[in-house]
């Protein structure tokens, strides 16, 4: 009896033990190394976290983000790193699962002690990790477009906000094709916010909104929506459909007999990858607004495209706006950190200090493939030039219009009543400052 009981307890402990022992041993050994308080030590690599999904449904765009970040890091390290110290990426897989995003963020900050995190492709995952990032007063580089309406002291964003994204697209389309437009989007926050902005541009351009429809995320049945569009007879469609749904939308658009010449889709999402996945004949003729296209004809972009595609990271054979925005975030980080080190010295560096010194950081023409951009010194989003491209028969985009000057980012442009995002928090109309508004 005694033997069996002991073995029974042993087995029970095994369960707990297996889970506990490994990390426990791991922690003890590292524990001592944590004595030092500074985030960066002279002569040692600077650790940054890459928090993207390498598996699961979000892996398609996010794997590219990881690859291009590694490319950018290699490029920076080859050129001497930051203040003589190389960057060292800590790459984790968020598995397209918000629970894992949250867990990995904690691990990157608390265990790996990275000085900044680059990550997320969707607002939902960003929201999932922000409480942790804010609680630790850490820094997140969010390298893609989003809806805005957020004012934290812990993020820097290098993609276009909703107020920049469609600013040129809507007037251009109205002018080229006519006043009547139909909005179609995926059913979540970003499309709805983008459409609110688009409505403002539409009103200014004298256009008319015939209808607004939202498809369930991941939904693939566009029959009912296309029927409504057929009845409404718009001059063009404005689309914020994302992901797999977007591909189904373009395919069914053509299959249902719609003609791209008389009713093109103006999209904020359908870029080079999407076109390749749906087949060029379904993408050709439609429009996209983005700050970057692979076909941009500038020396910097040629260098970027060739360099990236030839490197070991270029296996997927294309560059697109999301990757370029991610690429820029690496340089925004580099310049911000250099500026901060100059100001406070290596020992004074904390994630928050980097963020505060990133106000107004510029990435010049000779580095930025999309052309000069700079970080707003109040809301830490990006000043950039949205461009309009039309998809060609070979799947590449022809740039048909580029903004004359950089457009200012404003996360609260359509909610002036709520306040204005400043460097220290959201300033309400009553003058009160609120921190960490998400």
């Amino acid at each position: 009896m005694r033997t069996s009981r002991r073995s029974f307890l042993k087995t029970a402990a095994l369960g707990a033990g297996a889970a506990i022992a490994a990390p426990y041993g791991f922690v003890r050994t590292i524990d001592q190394a944590w004595g030092a308080q500074s985030w960066i030590k002279k002569g040692e690599p600077i650790k940054i976290g890459l928090l993207f999904s390498l598996s699961g449904g979000l892996a398609v765009p996010e794997e590219d983000s990881t690859l291009v970040m590694q490319y950018a890091i290699d490029e920076i390290n080859k050129a001497g790193g930051v203040a003589g110290m190389p960057l060292e990426p800590v790459i984790v897989d968020a598995k397209s699962d918000f629970k894992v995003y949250s867990e990995k963020t904690k691990e990157l900050i608390l265990r790996n002690k990275v000085v900044s995190i680059f990550g997320c492709y969707t607002s939902a995952s960003r929201k999932a990790i922000l409480p942790t990032v804010m609680a630790q007063d850490h820094l997140l580089y969010y390298p893609t477009c989003y809806e805005g309406a957020e004012c934290t002291q812990n993020t820097i964003c290098t993609g276009p906000l909703a107020n920049q994204h469609s600013k040129d697209l809507i007037p251009y389309m109205v002018q080229q094709f006519g006043k009547k437009v139909f909005f179609v989007g995926s059913n979540y926050v970003w499309p709805k916010e983008s459409n609110k902005n688009a409505k403002i541009w539409l009103e200014k351009a004298g256009g008319e909104l015939l209808g607004e429809e939202y498809i369930p995320l991941g939904g693939s049945e566009f029959g009912p929506v296309l029927n409504k569009i057929r009845d409404a007879k718009p001059n063009f469609i404005f689309s914020t459909v994302v992901g797999a749904s977007d591909i189904a939308f373009h395919k069914q658009f053509k299959q249902e007999g719609f003609k791209v010449d008389s009713m093109p889709i103006a999209s904020l999402t359908t870029g080079e990858i999407e076109t390749r996945a749906m087949g060029n004949e379904f993408g050709a003729g439609h429009f996209l607004s983005a700050p970057y296209f692979q076909a941009l004809d500038t020396p910097t972009n040629h260098k970027f495209v060739e360099g990236f595609l030839k490197s070991k990271y270029g296996k997927n054979g294309t560059t697109h706006y999301n990757m370029e925005e991610t690429y820029l975030s690496a340089y925004v980080f580099k310049y911000g950190l250099e500026k901060a080190i100059k100001a406070v010295g290596i020992d004074g560096i904390t994630p928050r200090v980097i963020r505060d010194h990133s106000a107004g950081i510029r990435v010049e023409d000779d580095v930025s493939p999309e052309g000069l951009i700079w970080i707003d010194d109040q809301n830490f989003n990006c000043w950039l030039k949205p461009k309009i491209g039309q998809c060609q028969a070979d799947g590449s985009f022809k740039i048909v219009k580029a903004a004359d000057t950089q457009v200012a980012p404003d996360p609260y442009s359509i909610y002036p009543d709520i306040g204005k995002c400043t460097a220290d928090g959201l300033k309400g109309p009553d003058g009160k400052l609120r921190k960490s508004v998400i």
Binding site: A13, A16, V27, S55, K95, E103, T122
Partner: protein, 368 residues
């Protein structure tokens, strides 16, 4: 006889397991690890609830994400309202969705106590109503599983669609940790860990007692042959509804704890893969053993955290393959392995004692 079936030995194993968990904050100062283990504890609660419902009641529930998610939303709403004050009465996302006053159903969440109570009661009530409807109509087995799956999809779609009230796909992100009166429950503190651990302990002990009670016995009989139980005078639908509801309540507690730890909730909590992974935890750990299921959750989540990146792309492949093997060859999961190992041990001893009956055939407590 097999020590595995000895109730005293079972309690000892429980005690040992919780003693080990209680040692974690004493030995470890790493706040990440504490938070991670607290999260595992939440998953343990979920696995426990599945084991209760599926292992003991025979009710395969693929929609445990519903009570979990509803509890989590309730808690997130409560925490969100804690950071609103008179000058800012509305959560920021509502302003973006052009609401000018707090929706009716958010009002109670201004009060923390009421909010937490609601977070627990609403999902429980849902389970009672949905379970009651289904079990009275004698929907059972695979059909019930499919219906829970359909219900899960329905909730997912609904919460996604009513964006002004739930912030749609982006979910609710309370900016600051939970405050209980004057105490702030820092998700990285031992306090948060202890809260989860104590809840897990209480839930486990209660569930264990329940399986040992006459209720538990009848529920196990229902698992074997529901129809036969009816002819013995028991209202089977009542028993099924009750065990399903209790399991839902535990999941709701888990939902509340989870939001306390991560300060985030989104419709992804209603994702089918999440609900199915709870079933995998319990299945691999051992659906017929409460402790086995909890350990299963710890092991699998631990493996996902610590091995997942090593295996990267093959992780799901490995997990899926492992799960198939367990279902095919080890219906009682890893706990079943322990059971038969101990059975062999005691049958060898048993033969020495001259006891003719093979010990593995003696089953006074199939419950564990």
């Amino acid at each position: 006889m097999n020590i595995y079936h000895n109730v005293k030995a079972q309690w000892l194993a429980y005690a040992a397991f919780f003693a080990v968990l209680a040692l974690v904050p004493v030995l470890v100062s790493d706040s990440f690890l504490l938070n991670q283990f607290a999260t595992y504890g939440v998953f343990g609660l979920l696995a426990l609830s599945i084991s209760l419902c599926w292992g003991f009641g025979g009710i395969l529930n693929l929609g445990q994400g519903i009570p979990f998610g509803l509890g989590a939303y309730g808690m997130a709403m409560t925490m969100q309202m804690q950071s609103q004050d008179a000058s800012n009465p509305l959560p920021p996302f509502m302003l973006n969705n052009s609401l000018d006053h707090l929706p009716m159903f958010w009002e109670p969440f201004r009060n923390t106590t009421l909010g937490i109570v609601l977070s627990l009661i609403v999902p429980t009530l849902f389970c009672a109503i949905f379970g009651g409807l289904m079990f009275r109509a004698r929907v059972s087995g695979p059909f019930f599983a499919i219906m829970t799956l359909a219900m899960l999809s329905a909730w997912y779609t609904l919460i996604l669609d009513v964006q002004p009230y739930t912030n749609g796909a982006n979910g609710i992100t309370p900016p600051s940790p939970l405050k209980l009166g004057e105490i702030v429950v820092d998700p990285y503190s031992p306090a948060a860990y202890w809260t989860v651990l104590v809840l897990l302990l209480v839930a486990t002990v209660t569930a264990k007692l329940m399986t040992l009670s006459r209720f538990g016995l009848v529920v196990q009989a229902v698992r074997g042959d529901a129809e036969r139980v009816r002819f013995l005078g028991y209202n089977v639908a009542g028993y099924e509804t009750l065990v399903y509801t209790i399991s839902g309540f535990i999941a709701a507690v888990a939902g509340c704890c989870w939001v306390m730890l991560t300060q985030y909730v989104s419709p992804a909590q209603f994702d089918t893969t999440f609900s199915l992974s709870m079933v995998i935890w319990a299945g691999i750990g051992g659906r017929l053993s409460l402790l086995g299921a909890i350990v299963g959750a710890f092991l699998i989540q631990g493996a996902q955290s610590y091995l997942g990146d090593t295996f990267l792309n093959t992780w799901l492949l490995v997990l899926g393959g492992f799960f198939i093997l367990v279902v095919r060859f080890l219906p009682k999961g890893l706990a079943g392995l322990v059971e038969s190992a101990l059975g062999k041990l005691s049958s060898r001893r048993g033969r020495d004692d001259g006891n003719g009956v093979a010990a593995s055939r003696l089953v006074p407590q199939p419950g564990e």
